[in-house]
């Protein structure tokens, strides 16, 4: 029978592979698989971050003219921002204040996170929830709450008056830089506690015992093992607080007074009452560059510190 030789191969022995090029590609390349998995995020990030950012940069190169914009591209705004002392003063004040708030928050949150990670045996979750409790109310409410606490006839002042420690209310409490720093530190505490807790909780307890066994007392053990191993938490907590607080404008607007005004208030003014969008965009970008630069310096310094500690 001559036709047997030409008959198609037994489908059971040689099941025909359906060609699926995309699938084959995914199978072969891990990078492509990763990009496909990331694609929804990438789309959102492009639409929500890259495009607005491009628009912001473009606007910052325009010039405000009356109620409209001169759309010819120029760096005049940047030059102006650099020359006007008020812009730089507000910028550095913002960086200083949020820097202070960041340091205060991390320093205050670290012991709390440490306590929950190392000394709470049961109900850790409850402790975490309790610590993040302030976060459950709106940001605005928290700011107002501090207004009540720090105000001229607020909790602190009336308490001190009642005990006779002072005879007239302390005025520096409210509408000052310290009021802004205190409020920011409290409002953002949850952002510090959580990463700090996670990084501390991850530390293998036997490493601490090993350090003790090798001759370190509690302080040296903390400096040589606990702190370096929790540095990732410290870094992320610091960045998580520093970056958003620098541009914050609600707290300084409500609690800052003239002394406590920050760059965020100025930017808001440019986009609002002043109606100088190009200058607002310029200031935003300058602020972003400063934050990015400082974050890089901070990362570099922590790396250096890590080397020094060990």
């Amino acid at each position: 029978m001559g036709d047997t030789a030409a008959s198609p191969p037994d489908p059971l022995l040689h099941p025909k592979r359906r060609r699926r090029p995309l699938r084959g590609l995914m199978q072969r390349s891990e990078a492509i698989r990763a990009y496909i998995l990331m694609s929804p995020t990438l789309v959102v990030m492009t639409l929500g971050i890259v495009i607005p950012f491009a628009i912001l940069i473009t606007i910052s190169l325009w010039t405000a003219q009356g109620f409209g914009f001169d759309t010819s591209l120029t760096l005049n705004n940047y030059a102006q921002a650099n020359e006007q002392p008020i812009y730089n003063a507000l910028l550095f004040r913002s960086l200083k204040m949020s820097g202070l708030a960041t340091v205060a928050t991390v320093l205050l949150s670290y012991p709390m996170a440490y306590y929950v990670a190392f000394h709470v045996k049961r109900n850790k979750m409850m402790w975490i929830v309790l610590m993040t409790l302030p976060f459950w109310t709106s940001y605005l409410l928290r700011v107002f709450a501090w207004k009540v606490v720090l105000g001229y006839e607020g909790v602190i002042n009336s308490g001190l008056l009642a005990t006779g420690l002072i005879d007239k209310p302390l005025e520096f409490l409210l509408y000052s830089q310290s009021a802004v720093v205190i409020t920011l530190a409290h409002a953002w505490a949850a952002f510090a506690i959580l990463p700090l807790y996670v990084s501390l909780e991850k530390i293998d307890r036997s490493l601490l015992e090993a350090a003790t066994d090798l001759g370190d007392g509690p302080v040296m053990r903390f400096l040589r093992v606990t702190l370096p191993l929790s540095l990732p938490g410290v870094i992320s907590a610091s960045l998580l607080i520093f970056i958003p607080t620098t541009g914050d404008y609600i707290t300084p607007a409500l609690l800052g007074g003239p002394d406590g005004t920050m760059i965020g208030n100025l930017i808001q003014l440019q986009f609002g009452p002043v109606n100088n969008w190009p200058m607002g965009a310029t200031l935003s970008i300058i602020l972003m560059l400063w934050i990015a630069g400082l974050a890089l310096v901070f990362l570099f310094l922590t790396q250096l510190a890590k080397k020094k500690l060990t």
């Binding site: 015992e209 003790t212 090798l214 040296m220």
Partner: protein, 362 residues
Amino acid sequence: MTNDAFISVRNVKKMFGSFQAIENISIDIAHGEFFSLLGASGCGKTTLLRMLAGFENPTSGEIYIDGQPMSDVPPHERPVNIVFQNYAIFPHLNVRENIAYGLRKQKLPRAKRNEMVDEMLDLIALPGYGDRKATELSGGQRQRIALARALILRPKVLLLDEPLGALDKQLREQMQLELRALQRTIGITFVFVTHDQEEALTMSDRIAVMQGGKLLQLDTPTGLYETPHNREVASFIGTMNFFDGVVTAESGSDLTIDTKGLGEIVAPKRQTTYGVGDVVQVAIRPEKLQMADAHDPEAAHSVSGFLQNAAYLGERSHFYVTIDGVERPVAVSSQNINGSGTGFDQPRKVWLNWRKDVAVVL
């Protein structure tokens, strides 16, 4: 406390809440001894080790190391170092920094410190590994680094908490020999915690067998294996056949025991205080029983039974023999000396012969 005791554990008890982890243990360990704490998990061996290191404090009793009471000495000031079960290698440091970790207090010049680390790296057979990251090491290497990190401080006592448990069989056997050799070379006291009886027998000068927080027996490997003091030790170390019986006569150093199945047998009295009429158990190791086709007139004792099954294991074979009146089949082990097997591979009637002094009365 005896005079040559280097570590002395005196009437130590340890409670965790209402749970008694250690029940009144006293142990003396000599200088330069390789001492093992052996027991199943939860027997208290690790708790005892951690008390030596200072991570736990005895609820009552006292631990002396080199003549000094240790109650008020915090772990970082004790003359002991520990190798942890998971090695506890610092992940943020490289190998050199890990090994040199404990040298900080000695304030040595960098060159001297590096020299000491290099010496340790040679000792643990990992020369040139100083700049490796701790995260790039295999289990066996981590174990050695942990050992080097402890030994570089020249501790008076090295504590080892199941340091070989995570290694595969071949590496473990190699490390057992290396550890033992190392201990002989440097001559410091090792206290070794393990649940592996073979490991304990291979390595130790003396072994403390623990169960439920109690010390069952403290003896040399030979002593534990050949003359266990109780049934727990006898069955924990190796395989053991037990026969129930009653003491019928006492003569000098021997006891005559009427056992179910084996009949009247004579066994050495040893440390037991049994007298006529006491209900006892006679224990005989599988390899002490010789299997034969016939009754051996030379042997002190002889009993017939039925060979149930045989397992050929290469260098030796295991047999199970049922004897009338004995509840469980008797385990017999024999070396395969000749090249043609044992000849006992089919179920059939056999004789078991043994010498008088191999039976242990419990």
